[in-house]
């Protein structure tokens, strides 16, 4: 764990206490059971916003606390541990697009509402099932945006979309010219293909040529933070299980074959934590962000993938049941692995950034 300041420790402790007491995995089960396509609890999100979590990276003058991404990551990690279904990650990243690229007017209009939870924003970038920001066909003419975005996270709950077009990022409000087709994925969260047909769009004119990459890097590190919480929880749950389950008159934890697998996972988790925290810190420091975010998401993908698989295997048959939580982590893990950069895409980007 990175060395934290007092405010960050308080924020993390508050998030930990709230998720454990108010938003355990049973709350995610309720959201799933409700079958609502937006797939989150509005009351819970209002409480999270009241606690300031929706405005962690938003400047104070616009109603946020401006604590930065490492702080946001602390909250998101705790949410990941209990699979809390909320649009917080996407809202935070979409807000960062406005912070980086918005005009004073756009900031004043949207940031206070995104910080207070009154409005929710999300990102609409990719146009196919695999992350590929180089392949964008969406275009804008005379302030009207047209194109189709695939598998948009938290599309149902969103009031505002940050949309990638050929010539930059645009703000599009839900309404005329915006149509959603629900795409139910294995994680049972909100995803939709969003078709924009001449929808009114405002360009995020600041932020320069790298705005799209900068925003995506923020999506990568914050998604990685959610995965870190999930991986930590799978590890902890698996370790607890191995210490309880008795076979051959011995607890499973006493078998060396299993001990060494847990030692491997423990070391992997240490690497994942280092990479994710360094990615978040790089965003706050504004230095080497592309490289650090690539490493963060690549390590999150690698370790989360392995952790989810090992979590199931080490739980044995019980891990295959819907009654046990570990399967939920596997299903969410794969969705996040594929979002904002698969492992092969990230390795390609790392090679390019390194000049080979």
């Amino acid at each position: 764990m990175a060395v934290l300041n007092e405010e960050q420790e308080m924020l993390r402790d508050m998030a930990r206490e709230w998720t454990v007491n108010e938003s355990p995995v049973t709350e995610f089960r309720k959201v799933r059971a409700s079958g609502e396509p937006e797939a989150f609890n509005r009351d819970a999100y209002a409480t999270m916003a009241q606690m300031g979590w929706a405005g962690v990276i938003i400047p104070e003058e616009h109603g946020g606390s401006d604590f930065g991404f490492l702080s946001a990551g602390l909250v998101v990690e705790e949410l990941g541990k209990t699979l809390t279904a909320s649009p917080l990650v996407m809202n935070t990243v979409a807000a960062s697009a406005i912070v980086l690229g918005g005009s004073d007017e756009q900031k004043a209009k949207w940031l206070p509402r995104l910080a207070s939870g009154e409005a929710i924003a999300t990102l609409a970038i990719d146009e196919g099932p695999s992350h590929d920001p180089a392949k964008i066909e969406t275009s804008v003419s005379d302030g009207k945006l047209s194109g189709t975005k695939a598998f948009v996270h938290e599309a149902h709950g969103a009031d505002l979309f940050v949309v990638a077009a050929k010539d930059g990022l645009y703000l599009v409000e839900k309404g005329d010219g915006v149509a959603l087709t629900t795409r139910k994925l294995t994680d049972q969260r909100s995803h939709a293909d969003v078709t924009f047909d001449g929808a009114a769009a405002e360009r995020l004119a600041n932020g320069g040529d790298s705005l799209l990459d900068d925003v995506l890097d923020r999506a990568r590190v914050l998604t990685a933070a959610e995965m870190l919480g999930m991986a930590q929880q799978v590890f902890d749950d698996t370790l607890d299980y191995l210490k309880q389950r008795v076979q051959f008159n011995q607890v499973l934890a006493s078998f060396q074959a299993l001990q060494h697998r847990m030692a491997d996972l423990f070391a992997d988790l240490a690497q994942m934590r280092s990479a994710v925290e360094a990615g978040l810190q790089a965003v706050d420091g504004g230095f080497g962000v592309a490289r650090a975010a690539t490493i963060a998401k690549a390590e999150a993908n690698r370790v989360m993938h392995k952790m989810a698989n090992e979590g199931i295997q080490l739980h044995g048959g019980i891990g295959m049941t819907d009654e046990y939580d570990v399967g939920f982590y596997l299903k969410r893990a794969r969705v996040l692995e594929a979002s904002f950069g698969s492992s092969s895409w990230l390795k390609d980007r790392f090679s390019k950034l390194s000049g080979y």
Binding site: A270, S274, A275, E277, A278, K347
Partner: protein, 403 residues
């Protein structure tokens, strides 16, 4: 997350930095620029040039080779921040730290923690001045991973012990002046029968035989003890405390083996850059072999997250004070990754990367081959990877003993 530095501290640090720069200007001989500290390693005899001796003495006199060790024993008595400034300024000037070896990395910190006043006064100052070399008397033919099974026996003879037995894998034993050893003083208790003592290598009855390794070098020795007299004052701690002290020393060893010391140097050489010299590239400058390119990136990403982990462990341990069980994680990861790197380097270079000797190979290529072979030892010594896994599972994760 910017760390706020108090203005007063900043001024002090600037003054200290200027002092180090002045010291380098006055004392560091230009001809040694870019050299490394041959004496700090375990793989070479003692043959300093007069210039090297002068540099070692200059640094030793200040205690700057062991900057954070107490001043009363010859250390620098400096803060970690000041030690970092020394590191930075030495690196900038291309100057190596001439004080090193097992005395600095492992034995010194352990003796400072467990030694009595007389022992610290006698042994720490020569380490700080780089005057004597220590070797490690731990492993035995039948005590490898099961180290506590060691049988070398120290019989109580009143004012001294009489030591008989055999140690093996004694790194640098043929060049060492002294040996810190764990030996048995009580045959009835496996762990509490072990004591930690210091043995002069020139004592009658000590015999050293180098072992030739697959890399062609002989960095390790067999060490035989036949009726070797060791004075009682060379016992560190109490009789029977050797296992505790010996394990503490291993934590220091692991932290060093994991690569903590040489990370910056290794970081400088991107495998991708090396690959571009040996492998075809496309018009865009990218490696044409997409599979190899992916392998290199996969490795470099994990290597980076290991370096970040080593850094994080260091930052976290500042508060906790000293090495911890995380050293097992670092040792396990660092050694495995270093081996992977060596293997990838061979894949990148093809047969040009497997040269044994002679013309047609650069020094760097030949060194890499020897390093690849010697590197196989890193997951075996200092507690094998399997032993590190046991330590992590039992001590960190609280999984039960498998016995």
């Amino acid at each position: 997350m910017a760390t706020q530095i108090e203005p007063a501290t900043q001024t002090d640090e600037n003054a200290f930095r200027a002092e180090v720069q002045q010291f380098l200007a006055d004392n560091f001989p230009a001809e040694l620029k870019g050299q490394s500290n041959a004496l700090a390693g375990v793989d070479g005899p003692t043959n300093e040039t007069p210039t090297q001796t002068k540099w070692r003495e200059a640094v030793g006199a200040r205690g700057w080779g062991t900057p954070t060790w107490p001043k009363e024993y010859g250390g620098g008595g400096l803060t970690k921040a000041q030690a970092k400034i020394i590191d930075q300024e030495f690196a900038k000037a291309g100057a190596y730290n001439p004080i090193g070896g097992m005395g600095v990395m492992m034995f010194g910190p352990t003796l400072l923690e467990y030694g009595n006043e007389a022992q610290k006064q006698e042994h720490i100052p020569p380490i700080c001045r780089g005057e004597i070399r220590w070797c490690q008397g731990y492993s035995e033919p039948n005590a490898g991973s099961d180290l506590a099974n060691l049988q070398t026996f120290a019989e109580d003879k009143g004012d001294h012990y009489l030591v008989n037995g055999q140690k093996t894998w004694t790194s640098g034993g043929q060049w060492a002046d002294k040996c810190f050893a764990i030996v048995r003083t009580d045959k009835s208790d496996k762990h509490r029968g072990i004591s930690f003592m210091l043995i002069d290598m020139d004592t009658p009855g000590v015999e050293v035989r180098p072992i030739t390794m697959i890399s062609g070098t002989s960095p390790f020795c067999e060490t035989f003890f036949t009726d070797v007299k060791v004075p009682k004052e060379n016992l560190v701690g109490e009789e029977g405390q050797g296992w505790t002290i010996g394990k503490r020393l291993l934590q220091h060893e692991r932290t060093n083996i994991s690569g903590g010391g040489s990370l910056a140097r290794l970081m400088g050489q991107s495998l991708g850059d090396i690959a571009k010299k040996y492998q075809p590239t496309g018009a865009d400058g990218e490696l044409a072999d997409a599979v190899l390119r992916d392998k290199i990136a996969d490795f470099e990403i994990r290597w980076n997250s290991f370096l970040l982990t080593a850094r994080r462990a260091m930052e976290e341990s500042k508060a906790a004070g000293g090495v911890s069980e995380i050293s097992s994680v670092l040792k396990k990861l660092g050694t495995k990754l270093s081996q992977e790197r060596s293997e990838l380097l061979i894949e990148i270079r093809g047969l040009q990367g497997l040269g044994w000797e002679g013309d047609g190979f650069s020094d760097g290529e030949l060194e890499a081959v020897r390093a690849w072979l010697f590197g196989k030892a890193t997951t075996i010594y200092g507690g094998s990877t399997e032993i590190q896994n046991n330590i992590i599972a039992k001590r960190v994760l609280g999984m039960l003993d498998h016995q």
